[in-house]
Amino acid sequence: MLKINNLTKTYGDKKAVDNLSLNILPGEIYGFIGHNGAGKTTTIKSVAGILQFDSGEIFINGTSLKENPIECKKQIAYIPDNPDLYEFMSGIKYLNFIADIFGISAKERNEKIEKLAELFEIKKDLNNPISAYSHGMKQKLAIISALIHNPKLIIMDEPFVGLDPKASHILKGLMRDICNSGGAIFFSTHVLEVAEKLCDKIAIIKNGKLIKTGTMEEVKGDESLENVFLELEAE
């Protein structure tokens, strides 16, 4: 579903991501963990087609992101760490805008928005301007907008920040459902307990380099993910 080959991205003299390679298969929830400034967001933004990288390749379902970015973006959804949305729009207008961009039929968008807005309990607020939303509500709206077009791959940067426990629970369920129906999820998090419970595979990044990756069992063995992470960080 997602194949990252030797991705490198530099900012000035600093290598934010250094020769990183990953392969995410359909049905997998792939967690991405690392310290602040390790290169998680840079990798995620590169995969989402927002950042242009220096070298390497990214393939979405076999399509090169470099050569055919629009086709790739049609198959993915990106949820940023900070849901900066168009504050001059109302929630419903924003969702309609995203649906228009993805060419979703009126029937499908209405059903999808109805269902997801009710699920995340923000339906009654959809007419209000986004500027009046709390951080959590914006995050919920960003999640709904990402799911409107049935993406095959969802890329999320710290998706649980700002969500209330119920919304977090719902999102975890949705993530599993998407993977069960053949999709894949690649997300970063600092909450190692969540990663441990939710992820099928995990990748640990340190100073731009991938230092460990594999199934949860392969990475942590009998220890807790937290212990493994802290040990790797200390090396």
Binding site: N82, D84, F88, D100, R109, N127
Partner: protein
């Protein structure tokens, strides 16, 4: 405690001198010094010099007639108006809407200390605005009339008192603005409407100023007698600066009492207003979702259109030209014949009417150059830019949507003016077509050029949208360049009019515009889109 808050307040007020908002880094000492010198020259030499000249023209005659008080009353009132106009919105923002209100209120700092530091900031702002008028006015007075220490002291105390009066009025109006702002639903439309009225008044007063001042000087004795008899406060206000100790004591006492009363009243409501959440047009979503599908182009245009309409700052700073264009259209309908007769007579050629058509094309281009909607449009994406970058669209469509907004807001009013001119002037078929086509080509150029400059000089790291709109060199470059091109067309008409046939001149200019537009359009399509994707 107060010292720390004042230091913070001062740094906040003069932050732009020491901090580069675009790069997010502190300026070097040399850069800060250059900035301060530039602003000092701008304020002291240009605005201060203007008031120095104005004061000089009035001081001699008024003081010779024993109307020193009227001299100070006039300039004192101008200073109050200037100071209040300049600081009322800062008062509203700084006193009630300061972003650090919550942070400071959560700290062990007495509310009165927070308020006092904020008020001092407003006072300094008012002092800067009034001082730029009253310091030259006082200097002229001390030069023109015999110098005494009493006059000097009176002038200093008068200037300080005027700043207190400005503080009091600004606080009162700031309170009203804060109250209204918390209750308003369609803030942007109402703000634009109020601002347009204020602009209208400003220009009306500006154009009437010479007439009014001339009238005041000519009728100083009778006006002075009327004010003395019926408006003692105004008389005492001016007389206090002229060295009358009793009036000076009265003005200082009233100012200080007014300040204390303001302080007391604000203290009572400060917490409530500073911690209230502004109301927004909240409408509960009821029933089922029933949205309609639109195409990508329409969706992108609607997004840009909503962005434009949502911001009074954007409308007022980048689309004010539309008001002038529409005013020109009305003027053409009402006084078009007289205007066109004058234009035709300017050109001493046998086909003066044709040249008048050319001149109208130039005027329309100049009017169009007043709008620069695309110039900050990339920067205004700000932190939201990732949305467009992550969507499966050709980003050139998004650039085109920005151009379309500019064309809609500028091109249509210009087209209206062109059509009215066409009907009134009845030029040849060729010039008639040119009257429609060339201004539209120029409008397209201003849109494309604005976008190009903004792609080259974007500022996406802003916290206040006024930064990319107003404090943006790119916007200034775009607007001035557009004006220069419009002016060049007119200048060429006058300079080359007797050598080149008007039709040829218009054809040449149209061809240049067309070629430049095609070149920029293609640049935007290929290079501009890549730049947009990589921001």
């Amino acid at each position: 405690m107060l010292k720390v808050l004042l230091k913070k307040q001062m740094f906040e007020m003069f932050r732009s001198f020491f901090y580069n908002q675009k790069s997010g880094k502190m300026r070097s000492v040399a850069s800060s010094a250059m900035f301060i010198i530039f602003y000092a020259i701008l304020l002291v030499c240009i605005i201060g010099g203007m008031f120095f000249g104005l004061a000089f023209s009035m001081c001699g005659s008024l003081c010779a007639a024993g109307m020193d008080w009227l001299y100070f009353s006039i300039f004192g009132l101008i200073a109050v108006a200037f100071g209040v106009f300049g600081s009322v919105f800062n008062t509203f923002q700084g006193l009630y809407m300061a972003k650090d209100n919550d942070l400071l209120l959560s700290m062990p700092i007495p509310v009165s200390v927070i308020m006092f530091s904020r008020l001092l900031g407003v006072y300094i702002m008012g002092f800067m605005f009034s001082g730029i008028i009253l310091i030259p006015v006082a200097a002229v007075y001390l030069i023109v009339t015999p110098f005494t220490v009493l006059k000097l002291l009176s002038n200093i105390l008068f200037i300080l008192s005027v700043s207190i009066i400005i503080l009091v009025i600004s606080c009162a109006l700031g309170y009203v603005v804060a109250k209204i702002s918390n209750k308003l639903k369609n803030k942007s439309i109402i703000t634009v409407f109020i601002a347009l009225i204020a602009f209208g008044l400003y220009y009306y007063i500006y154009f009437k100023a010479n007439e009014v001042i001339g009238y005041l000087v000519a009728n100083a004795a009778s006006i002075g007698a009327k004010i003395k008899g019926s408006a003692y406060i105004l008389y005492a206000f001016g007389n206090s600066a002229a060295g009358n100790i009793l009036n000076l004591a009265e003005v200082i006492t009233v100012s200080v009492l007014a300040f204390l009363l303001t302080y007391y009243l604000i203290k009572r409501s400060f917490l409530k207003i500073a911690t209230s959440t502004p109301k927004t047009a909240k409408v509960e979503f009821k029933g089922n979702v029933s949205l309609k599908k639109s195409g990508v182009k329409k969706a992108l245009f609607e997004k840009e259109w909503k962005r434009f309409l949502s911001s009074p700052n954007y409308i007022l700073n980048c689309a004010l030209g539309t008001v002038f264009i529409l005013a020109a259209a009305v003027m053409l309908i009402v006084k078009g014949n007289e205007f066109l007769t004058v234009l035709s007579s300017i050109f001493n050629y046998k086909n003066g009417n044709d040249y008048a058509a050319g001149l109208i094309i130039g005027i329309l281009c100049l009017l169009a150059s007043l709008n620069g909607i695309t110039a900050p449009s990339i920067s205004l994406e700000g932190k939201n830019i990732y949305i467009l970058q992550s969507l499966p669209i050709n980003l050139f469509l998004s650039l085109k949507a920005k151009v379309k907004v500019h064309i809609l807001v500028t091109g249509i009013p210009i087209l209206l003016c062109s059509v009215i001119s066409l009907i009134m002037l009845k030029p040849t078929v060729f010039l008639g077509i040119s009257l429609i086509v060339l201004p539209q080509l120029f409008v397209l150029f201003t849109a494309l050029f604005g976008l190009t400059v903004n792609l080259k000089r974007p500022n996406l790291n802003w916290t206040n949208e006024i930064v990319p709109i107003k404090q943006n060199l790119g916007v200034v470059i775009v607007m001035f360049s557009n004006m220069i091109i419009g002016a060049l067309f007119i200048a060429g008409l006058f300079l080359l009019g007797s050598f080149i046939n008007i039709n040829l001149y218009v054809v040449l200019f149209t061809a240049v515009m067309l070629i430049v537009n095609i070149l920029i359009f293609n640049w935007l399509k290929v290079k501009g889109t890549k730049i947009f994707a990589s921001l």
